[in-house]
Symmetry: C2
Subunit: 404 residues, 2 copies
């Protein structure tokens, strides 16, 4: 058996980043940016008014002038005006370019406007640059605004839009195939016989992958038969970048997967990790025609399967796509906990944040069943190190959230 | 001006839940469940073996027997067997039904199997129920497993799958229209003139809505013209449940929205909130042919727009869809902060979680620009109460994450 850390390293050592492609900004949400983006011009590109009001020269105010004849109006979207006479002012709207020779904006709330003249109310204090969002103050032209490896959410896409990147270079979506096994499993819509149960791992895996931004996912279910398993695996290896299997990987008489995978030419990197749940996790890869397929065979037990997806498969997909790793999260144990086996424990927890911003992880009453029913109440799992037995209330541990 | 709390209450007082619809479980991800779901049978439905090994009667072990002739094999997915002779055993696979009269499973690792007989290794300790996941231990038939109002992520869908709910009653997706205004704004792919800038609010709003699960979103851009604005608003009111406008809502000469909205028959609930950013936020609704459209007119300044979406619009959408509110989150200020105006401040922050699980919020160097460039570095905003000026390092405040 290898440790969790060894398993992580063995996976990482085999991964080769996927190629990139160019997509329209409209279709780039949740993808990983594979170029760095620079400002194509100063941002803002001109001195911009931040209020509705008047633009004028502060020098005139300093000399005691309080009323200014209005000689023009500057709208957002209209070309920049010029203040030719510093004793006059230009009416200006939020977002409009500040006229040349103007250096101050007075808000409409601070003015009395009458007969084409704007009078500054008593007690209003102003300064050079007041009400002006200066050219290049957000970014000078050429500055890097988004780094390669960032995930594109609304705010990053808005930055890309503001610098005219209508198409973006992103890593390709990995083609993911899910194959579930297990003769006891029937379809959701079936009426199970007393000894049968309904499938749920396939839907859980696909939905969690999609929530994490991995949308190119297909799935099918195979019966526990060596030949059929081998056939299905061989066929998937031709088209998928990542194959995720669930079930059939342990020591049972119909656990055909390790054999079928090796027969299909998948090179095993490891099996058996000193962890609970998920001890039988199998990982390997297969190189054909210059293309690699990574194979994760997860245990069929639902909690094992879901935990291994989050602990190993999702981070591997992020790496394949060149995504920079996020910050680790931690939570304190809300009640003391004991675990004797010399295994790393992935413990599903109810996560809460108290009113001081401290995260607390409350373990569920211990349940070996591994069913989704208990998992559904939790927000993720904490990771308790191997070779410790007593975990004190208040001790912090790494927390991994479920993909939602 | 009203307060943030008054604005929230005025919005809530007008919202009427959207109707429900039935969708296939395959299409239910991220939707809000509008029924409660009960176990359709005991879960697990039978005493289930949790190991590969042998099933036997613990009584025989108690009487000193260590070797058991194997009289059959129980596979997952095969009907339940019966242990007719308590001095024998049945080979059993993980997930298979425990044979009648058996009450204990011995792991394959703890056995020597030879000539059709399984011998329990020395030192292995067992008990009644060992290796058995008892019928109904996850849930008795009839127990409620998912409550109305929960959002359906992978784990909830898996529970629904396990109880055979191939179709689910969920709240309808609100039909959302985004209308952006501003003559200075050109399309992403355009080459802006010196006084023009590129649009980004429309994409930011749509992407953030979609990331929050609201996928029925259309958007268009209109010029700053009263007639065109009125026409566009009237047309959207016929088909949308929620209209989100950005820009044109303040006091400028081309801020036609308040007028256009009232002319189109939208009943204003409020405008002007004592907050920064987002003071000009306008909210109202319109009832026609028994159908309501809710109208949020957000300021055009990108940070105002994005903040108001997260602070008011997304919570209102969740309410419309009957979603139970999530837990509030908090973070401690990582450095002291001053803010003098008598306004609630929504302050974008870099959020981090330290290795003890404490969340910290680091404000960006203060920037009135309101551009997405600075927002892109943050994870959300904290809310600093109105009528306080000095905010101490270490003081906790509510934190709202950006939708990603």
């Amino acid at each position: 058996m290898i440790t969790v850390e060894e398993a992580e390293q063995l996976i990482a050592s085999r991964l080769e980043p996927l190629p990139s492609e160019t997509v329209s900004i409209e279709n780039a949400a949740e993808r990983v940016l594979m170029e760095s983006l620079q400002a194509d011009r100063d941002l803002p590109p001109f001195n911009r008014s931040t209020f509705d009001g008047i633009a004028l020269s502060y020098g005139a105010i300093e000399q005691g002038q309080r009323a200014f004849p209005i000689v023009g109006t500057g709208f957002a979207g209209s070309p920049k005006l010029e203040l030719t006479d510093p004793k006059t002012c230009v009416e200006i709207m939020t977002g409009a370019p500040l006229p040349d020779n103007a250096d101050c904006v007075v808000k409409i709330e601070d003015l009395d406007i009458e007969n084409g003249s704007a009078r500054i109310k008593d007690g209003v204090s102003l300064s050079i640059g007041y009400g002006v969002h200066p050219q290049a103050s957000d970014s000078a032209k050429g500055r890097t605004l988004l780094e390669r490896g960032c995930r594109l959410s609304a705010k990053e896409l808005s930055v890309a839009a503001s610098i005219g990147k209508a198409a973006l270079v992103v890593s390709k979506q990995p083609r993911i195939s899910i194959l579930t096994t297990g003769d006891e499993l029937v379809a959701v819509e079936a009426s199970p016989l007393p000894h049968q149960i309904r499938r749920s791992n396939d839907l859980a895996l696909q939905t969690a992958l999609q929530a994490a931004g991995y949308t190119n996912v297909s799935r099918s279910h195979i019966v526990d038969d060596l030949e059929e398993t081998q056939h299905a695996v061989t066929s998937v290896l031709k088209r998928a970048d990542v194959l995720i299997l669930a079930g059939g990987v342990s020591k049972g008489k119909r656990d055909f997967l390790p054999e079928a995978l090796e027969a299909a030419g998948v090179d095993k990197a490891f099996q058996w990790i000193s962890q609970r749940p998920g001890k039988p996790l199998w990982f390997g890869d297969c190189k054909r025609d210059g293309r690699r397929t990574y194979v994760f065979a997860l245990p069929g037990n639902p909690v094992s399967c879901f935990t291994c997806l989050h602990r190993y498969v999702l981070p591997a997909l992020d790496r394949l796509c060149g995504k920079r790793p996020g910050e680790a999260r931690y939570a304190k144990l809300a009640s003391e906990f004991q675990f004797k086996p010399p295994l790393t424990l992935f413990l599903p927890v109810l996560l809460s944040s108290d009113s001081s911003g401290q995260s607390w992880a409350e373990p569920l009453p211990f349940n070996t069943s591994g069913d989704y029913i208990s998992v559904a109440r939790t927000q993720g799992f904490i990771e308790l190190p191997k070779d410790e037995i007593n975990f004190a209330k208040g001790a912090p541990f790494p927390f991994t959230p479920w993909s939602i």
